[in-house]
Symmetry: C2
Subunit: 114 residues, 2 copies
């Protein structure tokens, strides 16, 4: 099994405020996605909204959205955190969310037989 | 741009109990990973442990581990939830964790210029 290139991921869970309109939420997502193009250390980015109700799971703790980005190293995350465009985005996100959770990890991908 | 095949992801954040030994945690991870081979609807699986301290981010809310699995549909998650092997694993995980968070979503992958 070839060793995979090191990957570090940053998962953000966000609970947008009750009064955040769909347009304000959409704008925050767009601004987050734009960071991929301006911060070299940010390799990949995806996002989604909570759909727990579809599977009758009620353990999402009120978080409404997830954002996951990928870096080559912890230094890459630091570069992202320190980037001036990130600071601008962070203020926007903080102003529109009630709570945030950030989880940093190196994924171990389980090899599948299928 | 070709339309991607539908993908639904289930993210679990777990905080293992203080008295859960590394062996007990390792066993829980192994048992989770085994589900990929026994539950047809489960397409992919990866996990990781919290490394937030490396990037000076302190927003992980005490969660120690993340598990992410991938399905073709919400029905696939239901199949996973209803599988008897999942029920056995769930009891094991619940007995060793202080809290769990589950977030279900359809990822929107942002196309990169790089």
């Amino acid at each position: 099994m070839a060793e995979a290139k090191k990957e570090v991921r940053l998962v953000i869970l966000a609970k947008f405020k009750e009064d955040a309109t769909p347009e304000k939420i959409e704008e925050a997502i767009t601004e987050y996605a734009k960071l991929v193009d301006v911060i070299p250390a940010m390799n990949k980015f995806h996002w989604g909204k909570d759909e727990s109700f579809r599977v009758n799971l009620h353990l999402h703790e009120g978080y409404t959205h997830i954002f996951e980005s990928s870096f080559d190293s912890y230094d890459g995350i630091q570069e992202y955190e320190d980037h001036p465009e990130h600071a601008v985005f962070e203020q926007l996100l903080l102003s529109r969310t009630e709570k945030l959770l950030a989880f940093t990890y190196e994924p171990t991908i389980v090899n599948l037989q299928k």
